[in-house]
């Protein structure tokens, strides 16, 4: 398997008919790298659905931080349209009205990329600071969307739990960023640290 991965660089330029089974397997494994980003975000969603029951909604939304990081550092690995299926998954996992995250997530990714183009930052702390308004705005708009989309006979949700989760996600930013970099280096860039 390792050999197959190593040989990929040498075999990619050759016609597929001339490749051996091992070489073809290596190519197939390399092609799977494009699904790593959605898988990582989906894993973040499952992590966010941990059986943790706190009086305040203080368990972070790991998936949202990962989406922010991908939109900022690797937008080509997680296209904006992937925000829709990932958002549907988030709506199902968080028991929110289906469509709330699905609508907001691709727009959030586009907004992050637009803000990123407006200026350059040299330190990751600046990216963390940039995350503060963006993540809190996401949570507040999500709250409004949930209010709009929830059936009218149910009582409305309060904004505070959404803000608490936004703050918890911001607090978890460094940890998620370290994990993101590790996954990127190990599984996508192929750099061993």
């Amino acid at each position: 398997m390792k050999r197959a991965l190593r040989d990929y660089g040498r075999t990619s330029a050759r016609p597929s008919g001339s490749l051996s089974f091992l070489e073809r397997s290596g190519n197939w494994l390399r092609s799977l790298r494009v699904v790593i980003a959605p898988i990582v975000v989906a894993a973040g969603l499952i992590l966010s659905a941990a059986p943790v029951f706190t009086p305040l909604a203080s368990w972070p939304n790991f998936a949202l931080v990962l989406v922010y990081l991908y939109a900022l550092y690797r937008p080509n690995q997680l296209a904006a349209w992937t925000g829709v299926p990932l958002g549907v998954l988030a709506d199902i996992v968080f028991a929110m009205p289906v469509g709330a995250n699905a609508l907001l997530m691709p727009l959030f990714m586009i907004a992050v990329q637009w803000v990123d183009r407006q200026g350059s930052r040299v330190h990751w702390l600046a990216d963390w600071a940039l995350a503060v308004p963006l993540l809190l705005a996401y949570q507040l708009i999500l709250w409004r969307l949930c209010l709009i989309a929830a059936p009218s006979d149910l009582p409305g949700a309060e904004a505070l739990p959404f803000l608490y989760q936004g703050l918890a996600s911001l607090a978890a930013f460094p940890l998620v960023a370290v994990l993101f970099v590790r996954i990127q280096r190990r599984f996508v860039d192929g750099i061993r640290t």
Binding site: F94, A95, G99, L103, L107, A150, A157
Partner: protein, 307 residues
């Protein structure tokens, strides 16, 4: 004379521009689909219930697996702690034994008296039939709704609308059921309403979830609002879903007209929950009997005057 070449607005090739245009069109399409889903959630919320059941099926196995080593390690730690602390606990239990012996005797007398009175009054109590004991394997983050995921689903006999409890008190009720996992609406969810009784006064009330640490207690209606901090609340059995007598909470604050109670138990207090059948199953209306119509004219009618 040939047409002048078309102006190119950017340095990109035609193929790149087409690709970018197609990408934007696809994005607009999927965002439109998301908007459609949002509108569907508003006007046909039941459509997503089966999807949520599938979501519970997806999340449950992962956390069930993760909890195995965590539970093993915590079990070992608890065993070691209990072993070290055993001598002190034995002394403490021996000291309590004298007090409890007297209370137990009173309790047994009251139970016997209660059973006799029930027999005399011909009171019938539906049996509390458990469906199974399951593990809590997930949550919903507690932002929009307070829900838990349990490891029992349709193939274990779990159905929507069944009471869920643990050894301390009421947890909530089942909401959406997948094949091997289900979602449970906790008593703290802002759509949860549990009919309760204030134990000290016997006054009926309604425990309303608020997606926060406390429940609002609705005492409005033709009842007394005489509650004190420390009053216990138990299920009243009204509505037939929750069996009477389950601990729901305790009054912790009285702000104006709305007292607030702390839930008796949260899913984090114990990993295992019991799912039961509803205390009183919903009454199924018999099918309407069609009204008697006039006899068909084509049929021969017997004439009573005929010989």
């Amino acid at each position: 004379m040939a047409w002048p070449p078309r102006k190119v607005r950017s340095g990109k090739t035609r193929r790149q521009r087409t690709s970018a245009f197609l990408g934007r069109t696809f994005l607009a399409l999927v965002v439109g689909i998301a908007l459609g889903l949002l509108i569907m959630s508003r006007f046909a919320p039941g459509r997503a219930d089966s999807l949520r059941g599938v979501g519970a099926d997806l999340v449950a196995p992962f956390w069930e697996l993760v909890q195995v080593p965590v539970e093993t390690i915590s079990g070992m730690w608890n065993n070691a702690d209990a072993y070290v602390d055993s001598a002190r606990r034995v002394k403490q239990l021996n000291a309590r034994e004298g007090l409890y012996r007297e209370l137990r005797r009173d309790h047994e007398l009251m139970r016997a008296e209660n059973a006799e009175l029930r027999r005399l009054l011909n009171v019938s109590n539906p049996d509390e039939e458990p469906i199974g004991t399951f593990v809590i394997v997930g949550g919903s983050g507690g932002v929009f709704s307070a829900q838990a995921i349990i490891s029992g689903g349709a193939r274990h006999g779990v159905e929507p609308g069944q009471p869920v409890r643990n050894d301390i008190g009421l947890i909530g009720r089942t909401l959406e059921v997948g094949q091997s996992a289900s979602r449970v609406m906790l008593v703290t969810d802002n759509t949860s309403r549990v009919p309760v009784t204030v134990v000290r006064t016997g006054v009926p009330a309604l425990a309303i979830g608020t997606n926060s640490a406390t429940l609002e207690i609705d005492l409005t209606g033709p009842t007394s609002n005489d509650v004190k901090i420390g009053d216990r609340l138990t299920t009243s059995g009204t509505g037939g879903l929750f069996p009477p007598g389950l601990d729901v909470g305790m009054i912790v604050a009285i702000d104006g007209a709305v007292p607030r109670a702390r839930p008796a138990t949260l899913p984090s207090a114990s990993r295992h929950v019991i799912v039961e059948r509803p205390f009183m199953p919903p009454v199924i209306e018999p099918p309407a009997i069609p009204a008697l119509s006039a006899p068909d004219e084509a049929l021969p009618v017997e004439d009573p005057a005929a010989p």
